[in-house]
Symmetry: D2
Subunit: 196 residues, 4 copies
């Protein structure tokens, strides 16, 4: 039974919606899944001052937060984050910055890794944010499995580096869900081949 | 009189040392300089648990922290950060994540930007971290001025994207100081040409 | 009078159309423009075997090809290329590979640089191809002027790193032309401020 | 028996030396290896005008050149190239540009990929060139296996994205050979786990 950790940060809910889709599809295929949001690092008064942000934070308040051990446990890891000027959010980066001890012990290596993102505008850093995560996975010594164009659905969503959703356009629409399903299925398939 | 903001994060002092060198050289050339460390976002018990980190934090405790307004004020901005798996630190990214209001008003655009970094190992993400900052500057609508090989000193330090110091090797040695002096001089020269 | 070189490679005509738009807008603003296609490097039988490629090649056969000297001459350079797996085309890279002598003499430095691209699919490497050119400009010691979001038109085309056209979608439509006009106007404005 | 293709371009022999080391190590571990240089695309008079380039070209003239089919045949592919302003050489890119038909048939996907490079100066684009190849592998739908820091030898050579040699420093020294041996061993191990 393949162990999959989905580690993400979501301000307004789009990345959360994508992560949840990945988790359900993975579970329906028999994977053991840890769906984990990273800890909020913005001051609470900042979060509360933005309606959509506060609402999403409240809605996931009782859900488990990611710990480094969730990476060590997993056979495969999918990370997700909104984009901030061509990067992952500082919240996800804060989590990544705590992985030093596991990294030094080599416990992040040789796992399957893939990534997803969302942004407000069409090209507002989707590719660069996904490549930022791929760069991080290389430091981990990961086995990186971006979707490429390995299925016809990728010619709809068009992003070979991972799955990206434009919130200002369709949001998590059918094309996005198809791309998410394809990505997680491929990640699990390759993780299983590696285990056998 | 050119206004230069140097915005950086330093855990153990190397980036602080680089930033201070940039500030002194800029001031000796008549620039008005704001030398600003970004706020620490790691929990205090984490900082205190690492000797070198705690010591550096104590030594800069009374120095001013960066505010978004320090970017709006400046004609030129040099950012610096250690590397974390091919990225800037989450501390610097946290600061960048607060720039939304200024960005929306277009107040980050049309300034001169350049970057520096430090890492433990030789190729441990120095180029990728500098390019991550360049990517962010592109989102700002900045006028990006990496050093390239515009002086003989760059063939010693070898990094065209900014200035990088390997702490595990020589640290901030003469070649690094030469490269820092060259970078800030070039940034100021181009900022002055743009103002006139 | 600002000297602008537009250096591009086009297989099927989209990048050519974009380059021509940039040239006309620049000339209407009083710039002296060199519009230069890079030399085809694919074997002639390959070009002739693809109808659209052969047709475009024939249509530009009498137009001047780029020489390294066109960069040395210019105050500002805009480069363009289709994308090939997240990179510029080998034709543009072949031209770049011939710039060694100019680079060693420092004659590529301190010019304003910006970039454009086109691709078949939505996210098929547009950001990465533009960043590849920005990376090259850093090696040149260029003054890099990506558009960012410095005008409302950029929220339509959405790409802060340059201008990208999706040929499979609208092609060089009004939003693309607006983005091209904005980019070249900004490049010329900054080049003029640097000259004065 | 794992099939490994090593596809590289070398002007002066460093990448050739690295590729040869990879091939010998792989063969000693029982892999079936195709060691293939990509076709020279620079005009012959240019090659002949540079002593070291002409000498290396003559020394490999009778060795087989890479064909797209060498990728389709392989279970694992390691690509190598010198750096050109933060990119692969146009010679390697020219080969990549011919892969369209295989790519469209999905015959580049689901293979193990890794990369190596060499450059004259220390940080002269080693990381960016390796990431450029990683970006290309993502378009292929590859299973990307960078070395990370999965062995102590990587703390000597320091590059998590692949193996890089600085020709102006030690060249292909013991640390480089160790890093090459480690990379190819890991690539073969993962390819074998995927096959089983």
């Amino acid at each position: 039974m393949t162990k999959l950790s989905i580690i993400y940060y979501s301000s307004y809910g789009t990345a959360h919606q994508m992560a949840t889709r990945l988790a359900r599809t993975a579970e329906s295929q028999g994977a053991e899944v840890r769906l984990r949001r990273v800890r909020e690092t913005a001051p609470d008064e900042v979060v509360q001052s933005v309606e959509g942000w506060a609402a999403h934070a409240a809605s996931v308040a009782d859900q488990p937060v990611a710990e480094p051990e969730d990476l060590a446990w997993a056979d495969a890891v999918i990370m997700g984050s909104g984009t901030r000027y061509g990067h992952v959010t500082s919240q996800l980066q804060s989590f990544i910055d705590t992985l030093g001890p596991l990294w030094q012990e080599g416990r992040l290596a040789d796992k399957v890794y893939s990534a997803f993102t969302s942004s407000q505008t069409l090209h507002g850093g989707q590719e660069t944010t996904l490549l930022a995560m791929i760069t991080t996975f290389a430091h981990f010594g990961g086995i990186i499995v971006p979707p490429g164009y390995t299925d016809q659905v990728k010619f709809n969503d068009g992003n070979p580096y991972g799955v990206g959703v434009v919130t200002g356009a369709g949001g998590v629409d059918d094309a996005a869900n198809d791309a998410l399903d394809h990505m997680v299925t491929r990640v699990l398939t390759i993780a299983q081949r590696l285990e056998s």
